[in-house]
């Protein structure tokens, strides 16, 4: 894909600790095109958030970016310092956090904060800034946006606050928005509303999203592409529908197989044994080897990135052969859609 707006190449982020340097992100590469949504999935501690923070240059000591490039429209953000990166952040690339209060100041009105956010990068009148803030709120589906500008954050529900955070991220029509588990703390009905808005925004405004989540169902229904992370590395990537229908990496396959909705109720679920390894003592070679059903003799050495058709990749010595039947074979007995 040559039209990628964000291209992350071999990103390495480490945290200095008693046990030595922890490689929280260890050679992550991916790219996102205009108007596309990339789902970054993985379990807790796999390095998703650190990847997001690294892209925006928000890593603080004892952490540091130890290598790699983050190319936003061709410009390497890892080389920018101080004021230069601050100019980019919020204007060309923005972040939405799991807790919207990371973005919102509890003692200021929504309008005040949004106007300040507009004027941080653009010299416009307060009136014009207010109009832009109102439009942004309307864009994320907030009813009566004019009145909401005069509300304080605590007067809004969790779902509304998260919409406001997304609206703030949208103020300068950034090329990319990084969203770190933005719906994890929300209810399914509210999550559904936000996912619908985000899908529409990506399609209509051309903003690219990196949607960080641990929820496979969310990426499956929202994202165009998927990157699966495990212990600081991308172990599988490719178009969402294909990866879900026919995973090539044993870890992705294990995760998908263990989702209860895909099995006859009451039956034993296929499970991935063991638990996520601590970064401080990863096994040599493939980090997934102690839990992997397919592990073989080669797995004590670092697996290569295998590339397949359709731009799919898997970091594995013995990738799974693609299943031949058509995609969506897994949907057999999910809930009936009501109507």
């Amino acid at each position: 894909m040559s039209d990628a707006v964000l291209r992350v190449k071999d990103l390495q982020t480490q945290f200095q600790s008693r046990a030595g340097a922890l490689k929280a992100v260890n050679g992550v590469s991916f790219e996102v095109g205009r108007g596309r949504i990339l789902g970054l999935v993985g379990e807790s501690g796999s390095g998703k958030s650190v990847t997001g923070y690294s892209i925006l240059g928000l890593i603080e000591p004892p952490g540091r970016i130890a290598g790699g490039e983050v190319l936003l429209n061709g410009k390497d953000l890892t080389r920018l310092k101080g004021e230069a990166i601050r100019q980019v952040r919020g204007a060309q690339i923005a972040m939405v956090f799991q807790d919207p209060m990371m973005t919102l100041n509890p003692v200021l009105k929504i309008g005040t904060q949004m106007i300040a956010a507009v004027r941080a990068h653009d010299r416009v009148s307060r009136k014009a800034a207010r109009a832009r803030a109102r439009d942004a709120l309307a864009k994320v589906g907030i009813p009566s946006p004019e009145e909401r500008l005069d509300a304080y954050p605590h007067q809004l529900s969790g779902g509304m606050r998260q919409r406001v955070a997304i609206a703030i991220a949208l103020l300068h029509s950034p090329a990319v928005i990084i969203a770190d588990e933005p719906t994890t703390a929300l209810d399914v009905s509210i999550q559904g509303q936000i996912l619908a808005e985000v899908r529409r925004l990506a399609d209509e405004t051309g903003t690219a999203f990196v949607w960080i989540t641990h929820d496979l169902a969310v990426v499956s229904s929202l994202a165009d592409d998927i990157c699966v992370m495990y212990a600081g590395k991308v172990v599988e990537s490719g178009p969402a529908a294909e990866v879900i229908a026919s995973p090539r990496h044993p870890y992705t396959a294990g995760l998908l197989a263990s989702v209860p909705a895909e099995h006859e109720p009451g039956t034993k679920l296929p499970q991935v044994p063991g638990s996520t390894p601590a970064l401080a003592n990863l096994p040599p070679g493939c980090a997934f080897a102690p839990r992997c059903a397919k592990a073989g003799p080669a797995c004590t050495t670092t697996p290569p990135v295998q590339t397949f058709e359709d731009g799919r990749t898997a970091l594995c010595h013995y990738p799974i052969e693609p299943v031949s039947c058509q995609p969506h074979s897994l949907t057999s007995n999910t809930y009936r859609s009501a109507s």
Partner: protein, 334 residues
């Protein structure tokens, strides 16, 4: 029908939010908030037969945990009663709740919070049964080793502290602690919600094994429709403190009746359906401090009519073993 092991009869729970000192002073000047009442659970009735697992589903704040806590004897109901094997599970003593049975045990959502960080896990598992004479202090060690083995942990770990375990392992420890009391009824409050996807299946499998081996009865609370479907025989859907629909699992998932249940099923993202056009439920979840009149769901319900604003629908039988609380089933919404 076999005799019910658990009988929840017209139970309500109200919490009064007292204003703090500052607010009270503001109140004297006519500006502060008054004492407000949260209706966490309203008039819920439910019976659970021996060996049955009932799933409790709903969005946050709908009262699942509060109902679970009342069943587990942590709170006493404001109204109604909860009978386990025909005797109350708890009684109130002034402002405190005194639990009256050890046969109902609870498992909490967050295993990082539910284990005392300063007590070795073996002692955590042993202290309940020793305090209640279920096992002699001398035999506690062997008892604990046996239980840890049963939940899939190496008994050699019993002298370790909780922080040395992963989330999934801690949830196993919490399950062992509950089993140590030889319970008949387990209340599981979102037992897998805080676990990684790959670990959830392990804990669900463990629960299903234990249920079969020990003939356990369960209340399984979750907001995850897929998980509830997998482990429950019957499911109750809650909305803002009330049960709105109750049915055997397979029937509920095959043909949900209540408009909220249907909307909920619609808005859940699913694996494998590909990019979908979402049809989420409109509107926000109302606050239990000021619930809407009549049917609590009416501001968000596509079928709502004038009757829904006026009159709260009762939970009525719509088929054998099935009930739903919607005017559409009882003469329409006009």
């Amino acid at each position: 029908m076999p005799a019910a092991l658990l009988d929840v009869e017209h139970v309500s729970k109200r919490f009064v939010k007292h204003p703090n000192l500052g607010e009270r002073i503001a109140g004297l000047l006519g500006a502060g908030p008054k004492a407000e009442t949260v209706r966490a659970v309203t008039n819920v009735s439910l019976t659970v037969a021996k060996g049955e697992v009932v799933g409790l589903v709903g969005e946050s704040g709908c009262g699942k945990s509060t109902l679970g806590r009342m069943i587990a004897g942590i709170y006493t109901p404001s109204d109604g009663k909860i009978l386990f094997d025909r005797a109350p599970v708890a009684k109130s003593q002034g402002r405190r709740t005194q639990k009256l049975t050890t046969r109902v045990q609870m498992i909490h959502q967050d295993p990082f919070a539910s284990l005392n960080p300063r007590i070795r896990i073996g002692d955590t598992v042993a202290e309940g049964p020793v305090a209640h004479g279920i096992v002699k202090p001398r035999e506690a060690d062997a008892y604990v080793a046996d239980l840890l083995g049963r939940v899939g942990l190496d008994p050699g770990y019993r002298r370790r502290f909780p922080h040395q375990f992963s989330g999934g392992q801690r949830q196993r420890i919490a399950i062992a602690r509950a089993l140590a009391m030889k319970p008949d009824l387990l209340v599981l409050d979102e037992p897998v919600a805080s676990l990684d996807v790959s670990i959830q299946a392990q804990v669900l499998n463990l629960f299903m094994d234990l249920r079969r081996d020990l003939d356990l009865t369960g209340i399984f609370i979750s907001h995850d429709l897929g998980v509830v479907r997998h482990v429950s025989d019957r499911v109750a859907i809650m909305y803002l403190g009330r049960i709105v629909e109750m049915a055997p699992t397979s029937e509920l998932y095959a043909s949900p009746n209540h408009p909220y249940t249907r909307a909920l099923f619609e808005s859940v993202p699913r694996i494998g359906v590909g990019r979908k056009d979402f049809r989420p439920i409109a509107g926000e979840i109302p606050s239990p401090l000021h619930p809407p009149s009549g049917c609590h769901f009416h501001p968000r319900c596509p079928f709502a009519g004038p009757r829904c604003k006026r009159e709260a629908p009762a939970l009525t039988a719509i088929a054998p073993g099935r009930s739903s609380a919607c005017h559409l089933n009882t003469g329409g919404t006009e």
